[in-house]
């Protein structure tokens, strides 16, 4: 990653993502005007829908939970030098693992034993599904991007096959399992707040949101405060140096992918154990791809990812509300914005950087004293 002009750290980490984000929003505003809508009104309603009520905030956090998982998954792989596009498939496998445990044991195990087991098996399923492309990349040299894309399609085919031929309730036309029952239901946040006497509206927001916070903290500690994390990042940034230092790149590649897959798999917990209480075909619904945008905007750092996930959670929730409020508004506007964010913050992030650097240098020349202060 060579950049023609070195930017100060805060400019690179904070201002540049914001500039890229602003460009994506600007283009979206142009699209809105082109389809005859008022961008200011849309934005106001979107913010109101996402944060204007306790239920709105809950939904925002519920969506954000899923995006924290997929965003972290992309980031962990990225730090290992890998681009994991397979979050979608790994999340499906996570849901499958959790669902199989629930279907098999929901009537034998108590909830306090069953739920941790579901989480564990979901993680193991996701790890295994991601480790295979990792192994193929590490020892057979196949391109991880291509393999993970293929694994998304294979996971989808496998899940649908199992749902249609094995798991589906007889007589039910939609490919989904029977309801698991209360033992396999993660407590909703309204229930948890109810235990301490707080009143909160009933929404899909559930215990998984705490898992997401823990996952973000865990990833930070692992990657930046532990020896295995250091080894993983070394392989990602300088594979040859890592090899010379006695770190085996192959092992780190598989580790990074497994960790990444385990994180993506937790989407299955948020959706299957937290909300639907049954296994279904399309519970991931593009969250794996949203994770790419989240990770890009969050600059692959857990804190950034949590903030970016909140942004996307707000967009998804606000977009859903807008679809009710404004005639002819479609949630696909949010997907468009998401694509534009990947475009500006990802593929074209280098376009704004030199421009920003020039502006910064011009500022420094004009106000040397102020800038020296700001620099210190």
């Amino acid at each position: 990653m060579s950049r023609p002009v070195e930017l100060p750290r805060w400019l690179d980490l904070v201002v540049l993502p914001l500039v890229n984000l602003a460009m994506a929003f600007a283009v979206s505003a142009v699209v809105l005007v082109a389809v005859g809508q008022d961008p200011v009104k849309v934005l106001a309603l979107l913010v109101k829908g996402a944060f204007g009520s306790r239920a709105g905030i809950s939904y925002t956090l519920y969506y954000a939970t899923t995006f924290v998982f997929t965003g972290l998954a992309v980031a962990v792989a990225f730090h290992g030098g890998l681009f994991n596009i397979g979050g979608e498939g790994q999340a499906m496998m996570g849901g499958l693992g959790a669902g199989l445990v629930a279907l098999g044991l929901a009537h034998t195990l108590p909830a306090w034993l069953l739920l941790p087991l579901m989480v564990l098996v979901a993680i193991v399923f996701g790890m295994a599904w991601a480790a295979v492309p990792g192994v193929l990349q590490a020892w057979r040299g196949s391109h991880i991007v291509i393999t993970t894309i293929m694994f998304n399609f294979i996971a989808s085919a496998l899940l649908i096959y199992l749902l249609v031929n094995v798991i589906k309730e007889p007589g039910n036309m939609t490919p989904e399992s029977r309801a698991f029952g209360p033992a396999a239901q993660l407590p909703g946040l309204h229930e948890m707040l109810g235990w301490v006497g707080l009143d909160w509206p009933r929404t899909p927001l559930n215990f998984s949101v705490l898992l997401a916070v823990a996952a973000a903290g865990g990833v930070y500690l692992l990657l930046w405060r532990s020896q295995p994390g250091y080894a993983l990042r070394t392989v990602g940034h300088a594979p040859d140096a890592a090899h010379y230092a006695g770190i085996r790149p192959q092992v780190q590649i598989v580790r990074a992918m497994a960790l990444s897959g385990g994180l993506a798999a937790l989407v299955g917990i948020n959706e299957i154990a937290g909300v639907h209480n049954r296994l279904m075909a399309d519970f991931v619904a593009g969250a794996g791809f949203t994770g790419i945008a989240v990770s890009l905007i969050g600059r692959n750092h857990p804190l950034g990812i949590v903030l970016a996930a909140l942004l996307f959670g707000a967009l998804y929730q606000g977009g859903a509300e807008l679809a009710f409020e404004i005639q002819g508004f479609s949630r696909d506007m949010v997907f468009t914005l998401q694509g534009l964010i990947v475009l500006f913050a990802g593929a074209m992030s280098q376009v704004a950087a030199p421009w920003l650097a020039r502006a910064w240098q011009a500022l420094r020349r004009r106000f040397p004293a102020v800038m020296e202060h700001g620099h210190g």
Partner: protein, 325 residues
């Protein structure tokens, strides 16, 4: 009766394979010049939407094809601007194109046609011609071979034959012309091309331009031949399947053609076997249609892992070229 079955299978194989062939050729061009294209899906979707919208609004076939090609070229030039000129990540760019196209086509479709993102059914005037229909009908009376050829190979859309012809054209371009040699060299060793005084940027932009036009033809096929209108997300992963076919064909146009035909055949068989029962020898039960549908991706993974022969990507694939100063 069997020859009719063979003929219809052949026909649906060709019909399913055509957009795959066009997209696989598109990615062969760009990847041979060193640019990964994960945006095939998005380019095909956006061009299909452009063709269908313009066809619905103007009723002109030429304008529809022109609009699709313009959109395809524009997306490819954006691809070049981000990844060739500004050295952006090619994989991320492909994702960006695909995600944006998936959203934007629906937003614009709803705004322009108010039918939930679909375009109205397109009039016959803008449908692509079918070729050799009369000959096909005549041949059907000839037993066996005539029936198979008549049903299977004749009477298809002009783009089916166009796609097959383009395989030959791209092969000739890549392996029998100076331009093709330079394009392939750009994907293997761009520094050498640069040292020879040929513009790496120019060649990559050129390859991307061809890529955009080919994707546009695939988009046209979807709405002007295969379906009567544009439907949101109608590409349904075909762009990725074309990418898999291109890799399965080892970055070679003829290999890509064969892979597309194989994948098309699997798809045709899977649709036909929906709900069929396995013979008792194989254990009975429903045919696992999903397994057949997943087979192209499994095969590609197995090939990439080097378990059946070796597939070598162009050496400079995915690496932005930085001219030394």
């Amino acid at each position: 009766m069997d020859e009719v079955l063979v003929g219809t299978l052949l026909a649906s194989t060709l019909r399913v394979a055509t957009p795959l062939i066009l997209c696989a050729l598109a990615s062969t061009l760009s990847e041979r010049a060193g640019v990964i294209d994960l945006g095939l899906e998005g380019k095909m979707l956006a061009t299909a939407f452009a063709a269908a919208s313009v066809a619905a609004l103007s009723g002109s076939l030429l304008l529809a094809i022109g609009a699709a090609i313009a959109v395809g070229l524009a997306l490819s030039m954006l691809h070049g601007f981000a990844c060739v000129s500004h050295r952006g990540d090619q994989v991320v760019m492909g994702m960006a194109i695909t995600m944006t196209a998936a959203g934007l086509t629906v937003v614009l479709g709803i705004a322009w046609f108010q039918q939930g993102g679909q375009t109205p059914p397109l009039p016959d005037a803008v449908r692509l011609d079918l070729w050799f229909t009369d000959l096909g009908l005549a041949l059907r009376n000839v037993p066996w071979l005539g029936t198979i050829v008549g049903i299977g190979l004749l009477g298809h859309s002009v783009l089916v034959y166009g796609a097959l012809a383009l395989v030959a054209v791209i092969w000739w371009l890549l392996y029998r012309t100076r331009l093709g040699l330079r394009l392939r060299a750009t994907g293997e060793n761009p520094a050498m091309v640069d040292a020879a005084g040929v513009s790496v940027f120019g060649l990559r932009y050129l390859a991307l331009a061809g890529n955009g036009v080919l994707c546009a033809l695939a988009g046209c096929y979807l709405v002007l031949a295969q379906n009567p209108q544009f439907i949101p997300h109608m590409t349904a992963g075909r762009g990725y399947m074309a990418l898999a076919a291109m890799i399965f064909g080892k970055w070679h146009p003829v290999g890509a053609l064969l892979a597309c035909l194989l994948f098309g055949f699997l798809d045709a068989v899977a649709i036909r076997l929906q709900g069929a029962i396995l013979p008792a020898v194989l254990g009975g039960g429903a045919v696992p249609v999903q397994a057949i549908q997943a087979l192209p991706y499994v095969l590609t993974v197995v090939l990439l892992a080097g378990f059946i022969g070796h597939a070598y990507a162009p050496r400079a694939l995915g690496v932005a070229y930085v001219k030394e100063r």
